[in-house]
Symmetry: C2
Subunit: 423 residues, 2 copies
């Protein structure tokens, strides 16, 4: 336990860690762990998808819709059905989009800025629009709200989801609060899954603003690595609570097939889908329908999808294990860090000694390891305690990951000792 060390012990620890750090620096590493990217062997799992749509297919014969031509901004029927089955809703509850679900979220807010939601005042005409941001959370969500000049309010993340008491107070008392960002399963970055209690608390919200929406980014719904967490359906919960229009659910195949060439979906009440399509038809004539068809014919149905995701899990499990082992081995005894132990998703979240996250990330960078910027997981990039760091273990090989984690743990320790020495 570093906190029990006296000054001379700290000095000696500092000397040893610095020496070790210099040695690692001399190796001239270059490792990028900044983003949650699938590794090449994971991408290769979906390469057979490229053999599905070929020149000898009869395109004209596909339920009356020629996917090659214009039309169907709501998506190819089979693709809508695929997501409908996955989320246990009806086809009419789904719009299937292009390769980026982030873009669907960006556009959903863009539409609200210009036209409001279901006839409400356009958000760009309001003095103030606020979003709740359970933190730590997904940096790109926060970037979108910042882009739209939406005020972000950080909400504490607990072990089974956001602090719902605080959420309810803001949502039910402040009409300027128009949305909340959620990654409900294997949350980015903490890896926790919202409990049924939390999902029901969301569904039972009585927003002051009629155009308040939950932005439910279900990015990791099928991305189990170990024993699968269970996520209660927000769509079902909202229906049961008599609030069917409360939520926009988003999903994509980015980490199922290809991040650079997948398909995405909005899942919501029929009224929300209608409201969305009415505006979407100004934006585009249609999304890429050939790729939608390619995906559905490759992924087929939820059972086949589950089998496909098992193959990802086999590749990811040793990486998550390696990170957890290294953290345990190198940091447990120091008492200067805590970390999450997710059953899936793409991240492990580490809380280092308060006030040392930025310094840790800088030390890593200096030695050739690029991490997600410290603070990125908080609104405006400001981690109030400067302690959270997101580890993205999926892209490097297990060997690279071992090297990276050794360096990371070294930097965590070095930064903590510096802090304890009062530097």
């Amino acid at each position: 336990m570093y906190k029990n060390l006296n000054t001379s012990q700290l000095k000696e620890t500092y000397r040893l860690l610095t020496k070790e750090y210099q040695k690692v620096k001399e190796k001239g590493l270059f490792l990028d762990m900044s983003r949650g990217k699938p590794a090449p062997d994971q991408l290769a799992l979906s390469d057979p998808m490229n053999d599905i749509i070929t020149s000898d297919i009869d395109f004209s014969n596909d339920g009356g819709l020629d996917v090659r031509n214009y039309g169907a901004p709501e998506g190819v029927p089979e693709a809508r059905e695929f997501f409908a089955k996955l989320f246990q809703v009806e086809t009419e509850n789904v719009i299937v989009g292009g390769s980026s679900s982030l873009n669907l979220m960006f556009d959903a807010i863009g539409r609200a800025m210009i036209h409001g939601i279901m006839g409400s005042t356009p958000w760009s005409k309001l003095d103030k629009v606020k979003f709740l941001c359970p933190s730590p959370g997904y940096d790109r969500h926060f970037s979108i709200t910042e882009y739209y000049n939406i005020e972000m309010i950080a909400i504490p993340m607990l072990e089974d989801g956001p602090d719902m008491g605080t959420v309810a107070r803001y949502v039910e008392e402040d009409e300027a609060v128009k949305g909340i960002w959620c990654v409900p399963k294997y949350s980015n970055p903490t890896g926790i899954t919202y409990s049924e209690r939390v999902v029901n608390a969301f569904a039972s919200l009585k927003p002051k603003a009629k155009d308040f929406r939950i932005f439910w980014d279900n990015a990791y719904y099928v991305h189990d690595v170990f024993e699968a967490d269970q996520l209660y359906s927000i769509i079902k919960a909202c229906e049961e609570a008599g609030n069917p229009d409360l939520v926009y659910q988003f999903a994509s195949t980015s980490k199922i097939t290809y991040p650079g060439a997948g398909i995405s979906a909005i899942v919501a009440s029929k009224a929300n889908i209608k409201d969305t399509l009415d505006k979407l038809s100004y934006q585009t004539i249609c999304y890429d329908k050939v790729n939608q068809l390619r995906h559905v014919r490759f992924l087929r149905d939820p059972d086949d999808l589950a089998a496909h995701m098992k193959k990802h899990a086999v590749m990811l499990a040793p990486k998550f294990q390696m990170v957890k082992e290294e953290l345990e081995k190198e940091l447990a005894s120091t008492g200067v860090a805590q970390w999450t132990n997710p059953n899936g998703g793409y991240f492990i979240s580490v809380d280092v000694y308060p006030g040392t996250a930025k310094r840790t990330v800088a030390l890593c960078k200096e030695a050739g390891l690029i991490l997600t910027g410290a603070g990125a997981t908080f609104p405006y990039g400001k981690d109030p305690e400067d302690k959270n760091i997101r580890i993205a273990p999926t892209y490097p090989s297990v060997e690279e990951l071992k090297t990276a984690m050794e360096l990371f743990c070294l930097c965590v320790r070095l930064a903590a000792v510096e802090k304890l020495m009062g530097q």
Copy 2:
């Protein structure tokens, strides 16, 4: 000449036309000519494109960028190069997007609404934003400006482009004028191509608003059907005039490969590209890069593209011919209509007897022929003379087109006679 007919001759003509119309109605036709869609045989020209990206490709070996993974919001280098060659610019002047160039235009205005252009006041913060709309023009352009509550000002279309005197007056005197919609080659719907004089007049504009941009939708740049019109490069013209940032050029492969699964591009000055990418990176992580690669490997370079477009021309020429022949045969002698004679593109524009376009379209619909709504080619759907109708001859077969054009001409004549009779 209908205008020379006396009352009893008009009555007799009306009786005969009505009888003929009733007979056609009884046939129970159903033909949709409302949109400029390629026909299935045109789409089939690009079916071999589906055999290009297969599972045995080495994705990891492609210039350091794995197109399957995240990254490169500016597009795959080869795809940028393809459009750069086509428009004789540098790779850095190009962003390659997803399947819809319309979406790129929608997003360009969306960005300006929220953040202005190159640091200007966000358009959503201004009391009034205006766009110039050369008319008749493309209905979906006008829908986008209407969506964003941008005031539209109709500008007369002349034989070699918009009335540049009027354009210059608005652009140079009114700071609220922020943009103009242009389809510079085979203009939608008139089919004319802007002359070099007009292109240079555009390039020499001295806008009152620093954030004024020409929205140059070069949708039909390679879509020659007969003898090719030549379009002078707006990018080059703007550079030469010392106004490199004046224009956003847009293009897509929608009517080259598949409308429902193509790729698109923005071509502009490096400063415009930088300004765009800075904001684009909030919107999405990347467009579909696999489809970009698929396209470039299929279309290869401008010469191969030209050969590909010749195959489209072979299919389209008889359709344009048929429309022109029927118009000539059925309407020339009546003196109640005029039409354009484009060398390419997707449309023929017909001016019917003033005050009868809506009625003509309604008569066609009643007999089973769906045309683009009358007025759609003008801002707010309001054709001041109610005379322009857009003919989209590409989708039906030549035989269907003959039937459709016979019906169309009949309805044009019937509506004109009704009008002349004072009904």
